[in-house]
Symmetry: C2
Subunit: 405 residues, 2 copies
């Protein structure tokens, strides 16, 4: 057995061997959730013209010089411009245009005076304040200018990014966007003890497969298409090798769960050589789930330990790193922050340990039931707590590293 790798070394070995998938073009109207494979440029400026940020009067700053409540200045109102309207006449020195929030500022005007500093006049307006040039003046292209990079390569098209596309008029069916192809994953949960949920009465010695449902749903949450799902694959190394070979024809990633430890039924040790896969790593210094494997054959193969909590935690740690590599997008990694433990953590020492927790307002509560075979307490949790080997047992109030899920 090789010396166990630290988690970060293992992650480096994994990400070194994973490349982003090819790009494809999809209609912008279907792009929500995808990752841009190329920069997208702005076809227009936004706003397209200088815009008023408030209700007031567009005018020449020079005309307001010296104006105050005790020194009013009166101008002729030559236009009234609502948002959605356009200026109808030029505004000369000594003139002003009534203007509303979001309306185009007429040519010649270099500022807007807020209506609170006027008498709200309609034909003539008396003003009680100075305005500086370009005060209350949103220049054309304040948000973005025609030709600017609007969204960068690697951006995940969230709701916010869809809003940005729409603000440039790009959210149309005819606009094709270059995006990284959706990751396709084949998931094999192995173990002779497993039966599917279609089995209404549990046979002796069997348990219901839970990793398949958990990880398939998690993959869907991360935008991955599950193209093959084996909930209860038998402990048959040859059959698994053949199934992986077939799955590699359509999947970008093979995820196996179970069979990675040192027992007689830990079939991955036989399956991977049968395939001729290159085993990049086996085991990382982390509990639970330390005997994970990562291999390269036609496609990357990530093999996780079968205990449900171990499978879930190592998927977050290593599986999402593979997905981020395939999608070319770091947003697929868990967000890391710090939290203060509300609950003491008694176990610990010896090896870096990942435990489940509930994070709220900077504080982390740990549930009862930490064993790697215990899954039920995961359901209401929203983070993993990453406890370094040297930390040992932790008192309530300790500051810990948190990975948000």
């Amino acid at each position: 057995m090789r010396t166990m790798l630290e988690v970060e070394e293992a992650l480096r070995l994994i990400t070194d061997r994973v490349q982003p998938l090819a790009a494809e073009s999809i209609p912008a109207t279907e792009a929500h959730g995808w990752v841009l494979a190329e920069d997208v440029y702005a076809p227009i400026s936004q706003p397209p013209w200088p815009r008023s940020p408030l209700d007031g009067y567009a005018l020449h700053a020079a005309d307001t010089k010296g104006a105050g409540w005790d020194m009013p200045v009166t101008l002729t109102v030559v236009d009234k411009i609502y948002a959605g309207g356009v200026p109808t006449v030029p505004v000369r020195q000594g003139e002003a245009a009534r203007i509303m929030t979001g309306a185009p500022i007429p040519d010649g005007c270099d500022c807007v005076l807020r209506q609170e500093d006027t008498d709200l006049g309609t034909e003539r307006v008396t003003i009680f304040s100075e305005v500086k040039p370009y005060q209350n003046y949103c220049p054309a292209g304040e948000d973005f200018r025609e030709g600017d990079v609007l969204l960068c390569k690697g951006t995940r098209l969230t709701g916010r990014a869809c809003g940005v596309l729409a603000s440039a008029g790009l959210l149309r069916r005819e606009v094709l966007l270059p995006v990284v192809r959706q990751v396709r994953c084949a998931l094999f949960c192995t173990g002779d003890e497993l039966v599917t949920n279609d089995t209404s009465a549990l046979p002796p010695g069997k348990i219901y497969s839970s990793n398949a449902a958990m990880l398939a749903a998690r993959l869907a949450e991360l935008g991955v298409l599950v193209v093959r799902l084996a909930e209860a694959f038998p402990d048959d190394a040859h059959a698994l090798a053949e199934a992986i070979r077939q799955a590699e024809e359509e999947a970008d990633l093979i995820l196996t769960v179970g069979g990675v430890s040192v027992g007689e039924k830990d079939i991955l040790h036989e399956t991977l050589p049968l395939l001729g896969a290159d085993r990049v790593l086996w085991k990382a210094r982390v509990k639970p789930g330390s005997p994970l494997m990562f291999s390269i054959h036609e496609k990357p193969i990530l093999s996780l330990s079968g205990n449900p909590f171990a499978a879930g935690a190592t998927f977050e740690l290593f599986g999402r790193a593979v997905l981020a590599g395939l999608a070319g997008c770091g947003d697929l990694l868990p967000v890391r922050t710090k939290g203060i433990l509300d609950t003491p953590f008694e176990k610990g020492g010896g090896m870096r340990r990942i435990v489940r927790g509930y994070f709220a307002d900077g504080r982390v509560t740990l549930p009862e039931g930490h064993a790697s075979g215990q899954l039920a307490s995961s359901a209401g949790m929203n983070c993993l707590v990453d406890i370094a080997a040297e930390k040992g047992p932790l008192a309530a109030g300790s500051r810990v590293d948190v990975w948000l899920l």
Copy 2:
């Protein structure tokens, strides 16, 4: 004008007036993403029987008394049990059963000795260590027991929760789960200046509607069904009142954007009385987007300011509070944490301010372009930074409140 409310008062007024939607039953296989309306009980225990957590020998702890490397004890091996198999004979005093990880521990045995402390014998096994009663022994029901509450009311059925359902054999079509009905939202973005993305050349004075695309996608991300989407509703108070009245027949929430300030075209002030809606609040002490409204008519009506960043930020702050109330699930609120500013923040003072940021590893970077009309810089951001009124300008290195998106 009434005194402006603090954000927390506004949130309290909103959540006081929003009740969870009715429950409905859906097949468990379609429940991913939904919120449980009732507790779900475990129909079985998991594991169903005492289980071995490792590869070794199941035996009687009493037989190992005094055993050590210098004092080996030999037992007769009467059975071999793999995961998925069942014990075939009882194990008496002086006997042991070879057992693999995940296999049922035979009746009578009260512990498992790890194989590393044995000679791995097949017919007789020599053991070199004591074991305590119930050491390496996962009792039946370690994860959950038949009749236990498996998942609580209000739990959002994430991938982890789906795994828990599957581990109890509940992830079957025939199993109907009580869930809170999916929230249905009608979204009206108002403003005569707006045109839809179907408009290929921008007419003078017009801009592309972006709030509709942004918020519709964001609502979908939060599991909400958008049943009516008006991207560019004209500034016509009567037409809007009629459209809201119609939308209330199918929507649980009416979200309007624009028209909430004090200008001539701020039509919500006319629309809400036309409807006979009860305006619960107008304006909260927060920038941007302070002139938001919340009203109750047949359904709750949340009306946000139309500047794109203001609309997005106040949606996260107030819109998600309404959704959490309708879904009966606090997971719909943004996660709050703390971060250290990497970038100084020059503006500030006067009013509590929400700015966009990028959060990574406990640090927050602010983009250039904070104006509420600037949307493009939002695309790569993943948090909002909540800067208290008294804070004023902030130096790099300041500790700030962060809302993760």
